[in-house]
């Protein structure tokens, strides 16, 4: 899978990238702040997104809106857990930090399986 990572913490971003690469995925880009994340969500070419909720104090839901419009699946990765997700995205898959590579792979598997055209 070609994955966009949106994560504001440098260390965690590197970890998620390494996990994805180890799992055989391709990280097409990393956005660490909201403007860059919105930019990439609109224009870049990828299959799914790992989306942090809090980007340096700003919520990433505008990015989720763009992805929902484009029909691109995403999963939230956050320390807030499901309680920090806006009601509009209450049904979206959530990975609670910290997580293992296996958790990430399982979540990606479920996300892909849910797609009607996958």
């Amino acid at each position: 899978m070609r994955v966009l990572v949106v994560e504001d913490d440098m260390m965690i971003a590197l970890l998620i990238e390494d996990m994805l690469i180890d799992l055989g995925h391709e990280v097409i880009d990393l956005a660490m702040r909201l403007p860059r994340a919105e930019e990439l969500a609109k224009s870049a070419d990828f299959d799914l997104v790992i989306l942090d909720v809090n980007l340096d104090g700003r919520k990433s839901f505008p990015v989720a809106d763009i992805l929902a419009d484009r029909g691109i699946p995403f999963l939230f990765a956050t320390g807030y857990g499901a309680s920090g997700i806006e009601p509009a995205y209450a049904g979206s898959p959530v990975l609670t930090k910290p997580f293992l590579a296996g958790d990430l792979q399982a979540a990606i598997g479920r996300l892909v399986a849910q797609r009607p055209y996958a």
Binding site: M10, M11, L14, L15, E17, E39, G79, K97, P98
Partner: protein, 493 residues
Amino acid sequence: MVATQAEQDDGTVFPVGGGETGSLIRAFDWSVTPLGPITSWPQSLKTVTNMLLLSPVPIVLLWGEDGIMIYNDAYSVFAGARHPQLLGSKVREGWAEIADFNDNVMKVGLSGRTLAYENQQLTLTRRGVPEPVWMNLDYSPVVDESGKPAGVIAIVVETTKRVLAEQRTRQSEARFRALTNATSDIIYSLGPDWKEMKQLYGRGFLSDTDAPAIAWQADYLFDEDRPLVQAAIDEAMRKKSVYQLEHRVRQVDGSEGWVFSRAVPIFEEAGEIVEWFGAASDITERRRNEEHLKLVVHELNHRVKNNLAMIQAIAMQTFRDASDLKEAQRRFSARMVALGRANDLLTGELWVGASLRGAISQAMEPHCPDASRCLVEGEDVTLSPKTALSLSLAVHEMATNSLKYGAWSNDEGVVDVVWKIYERADGARRLRIVWRETGGPAVSPPQRRGFGSVLIERGLSREMGGEVKMEFLPSGLVCTVDAPEDPYAERPV
């Protein structure tokens, strides 16, 4: 058979009946008093004596100038331990403690006038100790056969219990008024069914209700809270017991406040509720603090998890390609210490922003061999907490590498960190940070990218939204970070 003193010349007995006191009067030796033997009493005295003895009301007759006392059973109860000594005594001597009062009574009564007192207080000694006694006293003259006043008859109704009860009620009311003035609580009273607010002192927090109001719920409550409040009211009315609830209220200025409200039912004698009386304290501040605390705890939980994820990331990076486990453990510990120090830096700024100088200095200091060999120059810049943390971790890696391979690995090399804000040709404001090592051993690009390089090249560049250049010059390593001053001001095209 010995005739009693009271046996009359015609063989009849005087006085008739009169209970215990009647018997005492019959047995009394009246010849030692100014009244003389009972057989010689004038008819007027006998008639009044018979009349008072048959009355259930406490009555005393004071006969003659001396006011010789003749009374009934009801009066003997009033007199307490002073009875039966009082019988036949002169009133000024019998009630020596109020001789002046009775002196006036005798003078007025024998002059043919009446006296009336309501709740008159006198201090009497009836049970060994002086005590205040309240009475309704009515004095009327009694005329003898000559038509002149010969005595005074007094109806004595003790009102002490009622007077004391009234005093207690007045004191209680005064205390209640003092309480409602002294407390900062809102005080309110409602009808038995809670439909009507009779009165509410709002203390400037809520608007006052001075006249009974039916629409009090609409005035004081927000519509969405009314079912909750009504449920608590229904429960209190069903149990006829304390009402207690914390709820939102509309303050005087229309804004939202919170009260802790308690009310108790007041019952009439038959056990029906006549009123609910309550007090409510303003807990708006406390509720705000609680809400704030909830947010803080939620946020703290998030940060703890984020930090754990960060530690997990550092552990992965440190141990993934480690050939020397002991060395990797040492590095991991050093990175934990660096992370801990960086967190101190952020909490010092309450996570709202951190100083660039602070982030760099506090990461360099623990490794710096000598103050003259670590130079930090530049006008301070405020960074977002995230960026400060990342920069701090990157500087930690640079510093440990310098100690191992670079300028700090010999006795004289210097690390110089300089930064400045400048304006690019296109007008964008940029921050440039230069880490320059000089005076160390000759360096060459490393065979393998270490964690430090990964962190700076893959991480810091994207963290700051700029470019990072690592140059391994013969004079030493030069690392240049060039990024927008404000990552939100500039959108990459």
